[in-house]
């Protein structure tokens, strides 16, 4: 397994559409959190999880988003296992199915049983090359 975290090309394109007055109005305003068992190294070209688990994606309302710093956006979501699961990837999407994959994160493997729940707090920070 190769871990990592990526802000995807699609997520970057989404941000540009938000900055552009010509496209801003057409940008989808919903977010969903998903998890899966895929362990493939994340890449900026990712458009989905490698192996999304069976649980429905969790809606992330505005109240579950914040900016812990001015250059950072945060998504918080909880997913409950409905069966025995291996979880080692998660992502934030623009829709309950398919949609834009904004970020994909591959982490250490979690062996879950039915009823176990994971709350993810995902921070995406944008910085310039002069910042640590």
């Amino acid at each position: 397994m190769a871990v990592g975290q990526k802000w995807t090309d699609a997520g970057q394109a989404y941000a540009i559409d938000l900055l552009d007055l010509n496209t801003r109005a057409g940008v989808a305003g919903t977010y969903y959190g998903a998890w899966g068992s895929g362990a493939t190294t994340p890449a900026v070209g990712d458009t989905a999880l490698v192996s999304e688990n069976a649980e429905a994606r969790t809606s992330i309302p505005a109240g579950s988003m914040s900016q812990p710093a001015a250059d950072t956006v945060r998504w918080v979501y909880t997913i409950v296992a409905t069966g025995t699961r291996t979880v080692q990837e998660t992502g934030v999407f623009s829709a309950a199915a398919a949609g834009i994959c904004h970020v994909r994160i591959v982490h250490g493997s979690l062996a879950l049983e039915s009823g176990d729940q994971v709350t993810y707090t995902v921070n995406l920070r944008l910085k310039d090359t002069s910042e640590a």
């Binding site: 975290q5 049983e113 009823g115 176990d116 994971v118 707090t121």
Partner: protein, 49 residues
């Protein structure tokens, strides 16, 4: 004149709270390189505040 600006980079950091069905609670921090570290409840609270 056209001037391209290099935006820089993005960094993702993730915190995980795992609530087991038997009542145990485990906390992890996934650093930007993707490595998952076990952390204390106090560090989790600080990181997600």
């Amino acid at each position: 004149m056209s001037q391209d600006t290099v935006f820089g980079t993005a960094e993702t950091e993730t915190y995980i709270e795992l609530r087991k069905a038997d009542g145990r609670v485990l906390y992890f921090r996934v650093t930007p390189d993707g490595v998952m570290h076990s952390i204390t409840a106090e560090d989790y609270e600080k990181g997600t505040a």
